[in-house]
């Protein structure tokens, strides 16, 4: 097997070399026509010999086949790695070769072209980024041009890949690098060399990208590994920066990511190849045990997390199991308990029902249906009847209801919850015998269903308080009172009267429902909202003389007054005069005595120091500031050159278009004057003459207007042109001035923002050099201001002057 694979390898290698020989596209093109020629010759000789063609389908097919075969056999000549000689695999290999290999090739070429294109496009003297970079590289730049040729494809590719500000290596370039490096060992050596050189670059971003490429190659190529581990200490020193005399270069943010990445990579390399390379082990050991670097420890953390998760799962399973066991043991007792409760509830319900049984027949009068006219009323009545059907608590069955409530509570809070819990437990638990669990589950579900039904019964019977009761007690109290009253009505009134009462009751109820809705919508203005409803109640509910309704009435009337007052009351801003609003105080107040009422250690209280009452009144005078009502300021709406209307809002005069006058949609002034003028001569006799004059005048005015407009347009155009020229001049001057120093260059770029889009674009384009440039902060600017020599000189001068002055003052008669 080994021998076979070895031989296979060799074969592949030879085929690879042949591939490289045959790779270029024109060679492929050359190889193909040769085959064609042979074919032609073949057919030619046949015709020449006068062999008659049989133009049957069979013959044609045969020929077609022959042709296919010929061409298929031509394939192995140009496709290097043919595995088998049957047609399918032939074609398959050809496709694989054509598409995959040539595409890779294409990528490389494209990447190359890009590099060349970019270098040719950007002349090195003009590009500021290039300049900055050459400054970074220092003396290398001259060498670089020289060894560009000998560095070869990989060198340029790597150079290109690392010359970016992105956080990742361009995947296309990376792929290209990989495929180039893969082709030969010399390229790989070259790549390793170039990469090590790049690692020495004085820029963290370059080092970072280089490190990424190194990792890619390291994980793949053995030769690369052997080359790299030779200088591993250097690589680590450059990427981790553990040597004190070789700190990582700027920018610091990227330097820190570079360090963490390098440490991560080292760990990865050590995990996968450490066994083969002592150097890797040494480096890892040194960083970890001597320098105490924190390694991310990816594998171990993953394993630990996994272990923890499994542990947790196991524990939950145990707990579930335990619970299940306990449940198994006391399942029957629990069941018994629940059943007992349920039975009790049933009994209670039965009792209540039987008590109520006697009442409903009286209440239910079928004949009433006939008398009732409108459908909606009937509906309402039905509802009320249903309501009436329900069992209600009264003095007789109070005890039963109490018991029922208690049981209900027990049922809901204890049994139902516990049953729920047990069901979920049973669902989650994993046990050996599923049958017992299933049966238990089934029983439990049955129990739950029965419990639910009982609960429903209870709620229907009214023993359970509705949920909303807890939310807003005040409200509910109020309305329940009403309800209670109505039900009492229902029960206590005579059957004869019953109808009317019922109807009124129904009305009231519907109102109350409506009212409740209303209340829900705005609970804030609760009291206000109640007013109309209660007033309505007052109006319509006269025959119903209940105490409760009376109470409501009074409340309602009070409310209505309040609301009226509220509507009238002015809104005031708060001020000190509101402190004693309404109470007229004629007392004098002690001055400065707050907190000193007692003659204590704070000091003596001076009772004579008082502020007279009138003074206080004066102080508390309400003062208001006149606030102008803000009307909307009309836009100028004069037509602009662009065609739009001037949107400037000025009170009276637009600085560009003169006084603001009403204009139409096109921006032309609506001549108000003319209308006034028109009205003046209206008294005159000849209307026609007037009109003609007006028309002439209008026309002239229009002409004049147009001329003026044209002139204006011309002027503005000229002004624009001038402005442009000036702008350009300024830009040129500024550039010339800024070119000298880097600080001023940065400054100029800051200014550039306002100047034009070109400079903005230039600024936004991030380069390696720009990453190194320090950001100018406010602090920097301030320090620049404060610490420059002129400022310091000035302050020193001032200080010495001050000293001189004081000295002169102190010793006036010394000179």
């Amino acid at each position: 097997m080994k021998a076979l694979s070895c031989c296979n390898l060799q074969w592949i290698r030879s085929s690879l070399s042949s591939k490289s020989a045959l790779l270029s596209a024109e060679q492929v093109g050359v190889a193909m026509p040769m085959v064609h020629d042979k074919k032609h010759e073949n057919t030619y000789t046949r015709t020449f010999l006068g062999v008659e063609y049989i133009h049957s389908d069979v013959e044609a097919q045969r020929q077609q086949h022959e042709k296919l075969k010929q061409r298929l056999y031509a394939l192995p000549a140009i496709v290097p790695n043919i595995s088998k000689m049957d047609k399918a695999s032939l074609l398959g290999d050809a496709i694989a070769y054509n598409i995959n290999e040539l595409q890779a090739k294409l990528q490389i070429m494209e990447a190359e072209r890009e590099t060349f294109g970019s270098t040719s496009r950007v002349s090195p003297g003009l590009d500021p980024n290039k300049n900055a970079e050459s400054r970074i590289r220092g003396p290398n730049i001259t060498l670089q041009a020289v060894d560009d040729e000998e560095r070869g494809k990989v060198g340029t590719l790597i150079e290109k890949a690392t010359n970016s500000t992105a956080a990742e290596v361009d995947p296309r370039l990376l792929k290209a690098i990989k495929s180039v490096v893969r082709s030969s060992d010399s390229e790989l050596r070259l790549a390793a060399h170039t990469l090590m050189d790049l690692m020495k670059r004085d820029h963290s971003q370059v080092r970072y990208l280089t490190l990424l490429i190194i990792d890619e190659l390291f994980m793949r190529s053995k030769l690369f590994r052997t080359l790299l581990v030779e200088n591993l200490d250097q690589l680590l020193a450059l990427s981790v920066g553990f040597r004190r005399n070789m700190p990582l270069p700027a920018p610091p943010a990227i330097a820190s990511t570079l360090r963490s990445k390098a440490i991560e990579f080292l760990e990865k390399w050590n995990a996968s190849f450490g066994i083969h390379y002592r150097q890797l082990r040494l480096g890892f050991d040194y960083l970890k045990n001597t320098l105490r670097f924190q390694f991310p420890n990816l594998q171990e953390t993953a394993a630990r997390i996994d272990r923890e998760r499994r542990e947790r799962e196991r524990r939950t399973r145990e707990i579930l199991q335990n619970k299940f066991e306990t449940l198994k043991t006391n399942f029957s007792s629990v069941k018994e308990e629940i059943r007992a409760t349920v039975d009790e509830i049933r009994q209670c319900l039965d009792i209540v029902r039987t008590k109520e049984e006697c009442m409903p027949p009286i209440l239910l009068d079928d004949e009433d249906f006939v008398e009732f006219r409108p459908a909606e009323l009937r509906q309402i009545r039905l509802d009320s009847l249903k309501e009436g059907e329900k069992v209600h608590e009264n003095n007789d069955n109070k005890v039963v209801f109490d018991a029922l409530r208690e049981l209900y509570k027990l049922l809901v809070t204890k049994h139902l919850a516990s049953v729920q819990e047990r069901i979920s437990l049973l669902i989650r638990v994993e046990v050996a015998d599923n049958r017992s669990r299933d049966s238990m589950l089934k029983e439990l579900i049955d129990i739950r269903n029965s419990l639910m039904s009982v609960k429903k019964d209870c709620e229907e019977s009214g023993c359970a308080l509705p949920r909303t009761a807890k939310n807003n007690e005040e409200e509910e109290d109020f309305w329940e009172e009403g309800n209670f009253g109505s039900t009492e009505n229902e029960i206590t009134t005579e059957p004869g009267k019953h109808k009317e009462v019922e109807s009124s009751n129904a009305e009231e109820k519907s109102k109350s429902i409506e009212d409740r809705n209303f209340k829900k919508s705005n609970k804030r203005s609760e009291s206000l909202a109640k007013v109309p409803a209660s007033s309505k109640v007052k109006a319509k509910d006269k025959d119903c003389s209940n105490l409760s309704s009376k109470g409501k009435e009074t409340l309602g009337s009070e409310n209505s007054v309040r609301s009226e007052l509220l509507a009238e009351a002015p809104v005031l801003k708060w001020g000190s005069f509101l402190d004693n609003w309404g109470s007229v105080s004629n007392r004098d107040t002690l001055a400065n005595q707050k907190g000193l009422e007692l003659d204590n250690h704070w000091g003596r209280v001076d009772y004579d120091a008082v502020i007279p009452a009138e003074k206080i009144a004066e102080l508390n005078l309400q003062a208001t500031i006149y606030q102008e009502k803000l009307g909307e300021i009309q836009p100028c709406r004069a037509p602009l050159n662009k065609g739009a209307l001037c949107q400037r809002r000025d009170l009276k005069v637009c600085p560009f278009h003169g006084p603001i006058i009403p204009r139409d949609d096109a921006g032309n002034a609506i001549n108000q004057n003319s209308s006034t003028e028109d009205t003046d001569p209206d008294s005159g006799s000849d209307l026609v003459e007037q009109l003609a004059k007006q028309a002439v005048k209008n026309v002239r005015e229009q002409d004049k207007e147009e001329a003026r407009k044209r002139k204006l347009a011309k002027q503005s155009l000229q002004r624009e042109k001038l402005a442009k020229v000036r702008e350009h001049n300024e830009a040129v001057l500024r550039d010339a001035a800024m070119a000298s120093t880097s600080i001023s260059a940065a400054f100029g770029e800051d200014m550039g923002e306002t100047v034009g889009e070109g400079s903005v674009a230039r600024r936004n384009k991030q380069t390696l050099a720009s990453m190194l440039r320090k950001k100018v902060t406010t602090k920097d600017r301030l320090s620049q201001r404060l610490l420059n020599t002129r400022a310091t000189d000035a302050t020193i001068r001032q200080m010495t002057q001050g000293e001189d002055a004081t000295y002169k003052e102190a010793f006036p008669n010394q000179w």
Binding site: K2, K175, K178, S179, R182, M219, R220, S221, K222, L223, R225, E230, N231, D233, L236, F242, S272, F273, I275, H276, Y277, R278, Q279, R281, L282, G283, D285, Y286, T290
Partner: protein
């Protein structure tokens, strides 16, 4: 390699040259060993390394955290990564927790040259201690007047058991293990003594390098030092081998004359090379009168002008004698490495292309067994130089901080280096080819996804 074996089989080459060829071949292939890991228990920089001289198996290291450890470099304690990586944990270590351990950094740890039953440590806490390896107990301790920078024992000594200790103090003391007292106090240096080294040709000759930049030679049987190396006294290149010497004598004379140097020493050089210091000394003494200018002696056997000579600007931080004892390599804090001809006492002016050497600490040089290569710790890198030409042949990068010491094990051509990053690295000639049979581990292969 096969050709050499064939030649050896044919008898074309001699066994010695065959083995030296193989060895030098292996040395030129040294690289960081992936499959041999020495797990350092030290929590401070490793200051001293030595493989024992008897078996070549036990590595002794001394570190700044006052600990010393012994490793078996032949047999690994355990394996990692499916047997790919052999881990050599220390067999034992002694540190501050030991009841009689050192308090401060151990600057030097050496084996007793005769066997591995004892080892000696010198420390910044002013003590030199002799340890029993088997019980890891202190057998003997010597209190020194200052921090101990370096200790040394003569590898050829048969008649004495002296530990030479270079300390902060100006005097070099020789501690006698047999008696447990100081046998000698050698005074002559004007500043602390950074390094001490015994001659490899004579058991009586001690070479010391001080912070004053002087390299002094002492014959421990006599008072005073007999030679101070002077960097201004130089000769060009190395002497021709002894055999070719007599024939090429005249040429040599003219050459050394042209170098503007005193050629008298040269001429007398071939007279004899005795294996004890006595002969050496005689030759120097004999040389003195010929200089003729000043006859008065400050120290016995020393001219005053010679007594002030310096070998380096700044301190002498490392010394290493070649195997044959004819040459001395010295490293100084002036970042120079100099090769001295011991016979004449002249600087040979070989230019070693060192960039920078560590200046604050004593460094430990190593030399390959045929004296062809010298291994020098130059900051974080260990560099191998050709001794005679000074050309750098190899650079060993692997440490993350300065390297303090290196030791070349001539038995299996391995280099051990220890540095401030607490690591002890092994550099070995070749990697055994890993077998591909086990599929469990991650293969180190290309994997191009696209």
């Amino acid at each position: 390699m096969w050709k050499e074996i064939g030649d050896r089989e044919m008898g074309k080459i001699r066994p010695n040259s065959f083995s030296s060829q193989i060895k030098s071949n292996r040395i030129s292939n040294l690289q960081l060993s992936n499959n041999k890991d020495i797990v350092s228990p030290h929590r401070g920089s490793v200051n001293s390394l030595q493989v024992d001289l008897t078996e070549g198996r036990y590595l002794l290291s001394g570190a700044s955290d006052a600990s010393a450890a012994v490793y078996d470099v032949q047999r690994a304690t355990d394996y990692e990564g499916n047997g790919l990586i052999a881990k050599h944990k220390c067999l034992f270590s002694v540190d501050k927790q030991h009841e009689k351990g050192h308090k401060y950094a151990i600057s030097s740890a050496i084996w007793y040259p005769v066997d591995t039953g004892l080892f000696v440590t010198g420390s910044y806490d002013h003590y030199v201690k002799v340890w029993d390896t088997n019980t890891t107990q202190v057998v003997m301790s010597f209190k020194m007047p200052g921090k101990v920078y370096r200790t040394a024992m003569s590898p050829l000594a048969t008649s004495h058991m002296l530990i030479a200790a270079g300390t902060e103090d100006v005097q070099v003391r020789l501690c006698d293990i047999a008696s447990g007292a100081f046998a000698h106090t050698l005074s002559g240096h004007r500043d602390g003594v950074m390094t001490v080294e015994w001659s490899t040709s004579s058991e009586w000759v001690l070479i010391t390098g001080g912070c004053d930049g002087a390299i002094r030679f002492w014959d421990i049987r006599r008072a005073g030092c007999f030679l101070v190396l002077d960097q201004s006294q130089s000769q060009l290149g190395r002497r021709p081998p002894v055999l070719a010497r007599s024939a090429a004598n005249k040429v040599n004379v003219s050459k050394s004359l042209s170098a503007g140097q005193n050629s008298l020493g040269k001429q007398r050089a071939p007279q004899k090379k005795v294996s004890n210091g006595h002969g050496m000394k005689q030759s120097t003494i004999g040389r003195m009168p010929t200089k003729g200018s000043v006859r008065q002696r400050l120290h016995p056997g020393m001219l005053s002008i010679q007594d002030r000579a310096t070998a380096h600007y700044g301190a002498v931080t490392g010394l290493k004698v070649t195997d044959d004892g004819m040459y001395l390599l010295s490293a100084g804090s002036d970042s120079r490495i100099k090769l001295w001809d011991l016979e004449s006492g002249y600087n040979t002016l070989v230019n070693f292309e060192v960039v920078r050497l560590q200046t604050s600490k004593a460094i430990q040089l190593a030399i390959s067994q045929d004296s062809a290569q010298v291994f020098v710790p130059c900051m974080t890198v260990v560099k191998a130089f050709d001794v005679w030409s000074g050309k750098m042949s190899l650079a060993f990068r692997g440490h993350y901080e300065s390297v303090n010491c290196c030791w070349f094990s001539s038995q299996d051509q391995e280099l051990y280096t220890g540095g401030n990053d607490r690591q002890i690295l092994v550099w070995s000639p070749c990697q055994p080819i890993p077998d591909d049979t086990d599929a469990g581990r991650v293969k180190d292969e290309d994997n191009w996804s696209d």
